[in-house]
Symmetry: C2
Subunit: 504 residues, 2 copies
């Protein structure tokens, strides 16, 4: 396998260090003997073999001396998946038909898929067989309301089956999730601290941002490490009852991680994929009892109470079928939570609440107490009606803060989140009351400023609904790590200033 010859369909790997993110790309000279004998041209999908393993990759043809005649370049993802290094001899063959693509086409044509179809698609996705074009077609076909309840169940089960499932000693494992859309709504670290301080087990695996300026994993990473192997997570939880780590690092829902990379670039969410994504991650994480927070507001992800109730019903129905006790809480999503938007700035709010500081954002505290209270009650350990007051007590007596510090210690040590290098104050040009806030535009500004890519980038938001402001008063401050990104956020605000409405 390691000898390359001109008569066989083999070429030597050249590590050209090209990062195409999750897509496998192979670079070959148009005049190499493999392209010529096999008739490969740009965008041909090709099977590459090494040492009994194989991957599918998309061909970019090289018309230069970037490669020798006997060399092929692989993108970094392709090298990792095939486990090859510089000089290894790889073999090429034509792509056999990817059978599951016909289910993708069927879904594009609005046919109903069953669990086996989704299983087949997700298995191939996880195996890295789909190009980004094919992933985009699948995501598009499943977007919006395009999946029936049965299809959502099928997709959820397929995604659970595609990854590992963590086994815990405890019979009851708690978890929570918020259906995004609300800038700064970073309750998780507080909820985990309260619930684990109360002696319940909550091994929280969180995601990074998909289309928002920060995910919980991004925020937590400004205060401690979040990437751990499964056995390390078990050790942390064994000692502390809880953790707040990145789910992607333990490969809990590998399908989801791949789909999200393309969803992100399309900036779409879809109900079915959201439910499948959330519940498959919870099931894979070994959760038994899950509280889901759905914020509702005109510019939140879910815009009306009736939509939220439908979603609540779907979450609870699908949950039952995948053996999860799911309780959905519908909350107010009319404005940002706390003051920070972006990883570091949100982390500062969290610390302020945990430390019971006087000027801690009360709204963030209240939401964390509500969610922690719901978890305490869902566990059965605390009677209905007592959850909130117990949760509040754990927060105010400092036990949650002590627990958070212990968790950070176990996760590699606590560090203080920091402010970004560049900042820009957005001033009010009139006097009056804050009447409306466009959460989507606000999130957009934070993203343009560099969040979550740069953890200290984002927004410090100082103008909640109902607040009276004067001319020249700071409405919010934009933070950025790079001048270009600060300028870009500022330019966007100049072109579209309907972010905050002020009325006399």
């Amino acid at each position: 396998m390691n000898k390359c010859s001109n008569t066989s369909n083999t070429l030597k790997v050249k590590n050209i260090g090209i990062d195409t993110y999750r897509e496998n790309i192979v670079f070959m000279r148009s005049d190499c003997h493999v392209c010529q004998s096999e008739g490969f041209t740009a965008l041909t999908r090709i099977v590459i073999h090494y040492n009994g393993r194989s991957i599918i990759a998309t061909l970019n043809v090289v018309h230069s001396d970037l490669l020798h005649h006997d060399e092929a370049g692989l993108s970094m993802e392709a090298m990792k998946r095939l486990t090859v290094k510089d000089g290894d001899c790889i073999a090429f063959s034509h792509l056999e038909h990817i059978d599951s693509l016909r289910y993708v086409r069927a879904k594009m044509y609005r046919k109903e898929l069953n669990e086996l179809h989704f299983q087949s698609i997700i298995t191939d996705v996880v195996a890295g067989k789909y190009s980004n074009i094919e992933l985009a077609a699948f995501i598009s076909a499943c977007s919006g309301e395009n999946l029936s309840l049965n299809e959502i169940i099928g997709l959820t089960k397929a995604m659970i089956n595609a990854g590992k499932k963590i086994k815990w000693h405890n019979a009851m494992i708690l978890d929570k999730h918020c259906v995004g859309g609300l800038p700064g709504n970073r309750t998780t670290p507080i909820v985990v601290s309260i619930v684990s301080a109360a002696g319940l087990t909550i091994p929280k695996t969180s995601s990074r941002a998909i289309t928002s300026p920060a995910g919980t994993a991004d925020t937590m990473e400004t205060m401690t490490s979040v990437e751990f192997e499964l056995n390390e997570i078990k050790q942390i939880v064994g000692k502390e009852n809880g953790c707040i780590v990145w789910g992607g690092a333990v490969n809990l829902s590998p399908a989801d991680d791949i789909l999200i990379s393309v969803e992100k670039s399309l900036d779409v969410d879809s109900k079915g994929q959201m439910i499948a994504s959330v519940l498959s991650k919870k099931a894979a994480a070994g959760a038994t009892h899950v509280v889901i927070d759905i914020p509702v507001g005109e510019t939140a992800k879910v815009r009306s109470v009736s939509d939220a109730k439908k979603l609540q019903n779907d979450f609870e129905t699908v949950g039952k079928l995948v053996d999860l006790h799911v309780k959905v809480i519908i909350t107010d999503g009319s404005q940002p939570v706390g003051r920070g938007i972006g990883p570091s700035l949100e982390a500062m709010d969290i610390l302020s609440v945990l430390k019971n500081e006087k000027n801690a954002p009360q709204d963030l505290k209240d939401r964390a107490v509500t969610l922690a209270g719901a978890l305490l009650e869902l566990s059965g350990k605390y009677p209905t009606g007592t959850g909130n007051s117990v949760a509040k007590e754990f927060l105010e007596n400092g036990k949650a803060w002590a627990k958070f510090q212990s968790i950070c210690e176990r996760q590699g040590g606590f560090r203080e989140p920091v402010y970004a290098k560049y900042k820009y104050d957005v001033l009010s040009d009139k006097e009056g009351l804050i009447k409306a806030i466009d959460n989507r535009k606000l999130a957009r500004v934070a993203k343009l400023a560099g969040a979550p890519k740069f953890s200290s980038a984002g927004i410090l938001f100082l103008s909640p609904l109902g607040k009276k402001v004067n001319v020249g008063e700071v409405l919010f401050t934009v933070y950025a790590e790079a001048k270009g990104e600060l300028d870009y956020a500022i330019n966007y605000m100049k072109s579209d200033n309907g972010i905050i409405s002020i009325e006399k």
Copy 2:
């Protein structure tokens, strides 16, 4: 503009000769000053500026010495679109919001789009602003029956407006189109020869294959040149009344060419996009009267007469609204037409019919006569009921053949199509009558054998429905230019031999 400095957002172009087909890709070192100051990472979409022009490209990050710190590589398409060469100094900025993507998202969510929305999408597609991921999402959202009649009209108009429209001196310009799906159905060169011999104007711009083993342009290219500038086409048509050239070369529907490159890789067709694609090309080509052939068969693109009638109605309705006289003819699509499948092999059939050879495929001749007859009648020059006999006369008296030769001369000279290097006979393993033919599988074999990429690859089909065959008799012969592709076609036939059904 041509001076690069470390303090500005500029890098020098390095031509690394990478062919990514239609997508703009930029390669930059992760540690170059632009990536660092702007915060660009893999898959970031970036605006690149040169000399007052700009393009949007997707970033592939380089972690090697492929590039110097002050260099950026561009894919060949990106270099062409930006019109830069090695050493030119290009500037970078963050991507402004691509506004039309929100209509793509709306369509993914099954909202109805209007003409302005499609106009906005198609304008951006033609400007090269969409990544392949975004194109795939749009195509997926518009696939199958996902577009309403109004949306098809909107998309068609948008696609017409996005390209040039050819103006002709003549008031009446004829055209024809076949809604694919039927291997070997290559009537166009014959129809054009008859109609232009009859003194009517038919400047035929044809496409290359999308998902089939051959397009008319591919087939015609085995006999003469097909890529011409618009003024050259006008000269040919001015002399001959007709031509058979590739539409893509004259940029008639630039949107369609880009969409097709992604559709091809997804192997999908959609009714709305098909109608928009066909009619926009006809309108852009300046046609006034168009005959459309819809073959119907169990394994053709359109499977039932009722589907064909719906499509007929949609074609005629949309046609009227874009000022085209459209006549749809529904034909038998139960088996391949002629004997050849693949560019060169189909060309041989065409020549045989035009030359009135004794063993010329009668079915191809009959279909060409029907379509030419319909065009002669649609023109008003020949009374209803006389079209077919006039067409047949032009074929049998040698005038069509003379006209075809003249057209080829004007298009750069005639050449004989040739057979491919490798061939493989598929033999009958029983005695009986040919009862059914799976056109899709047959087309698949021809494609696996290399058609249309290699023009001489394909199938010579010798077993029409109803023919009596003996054990060991050749059912069809597969032709390929590369050994690997012949093997691949053979392997596919071994794994799935339901291509031809024979019964006692």
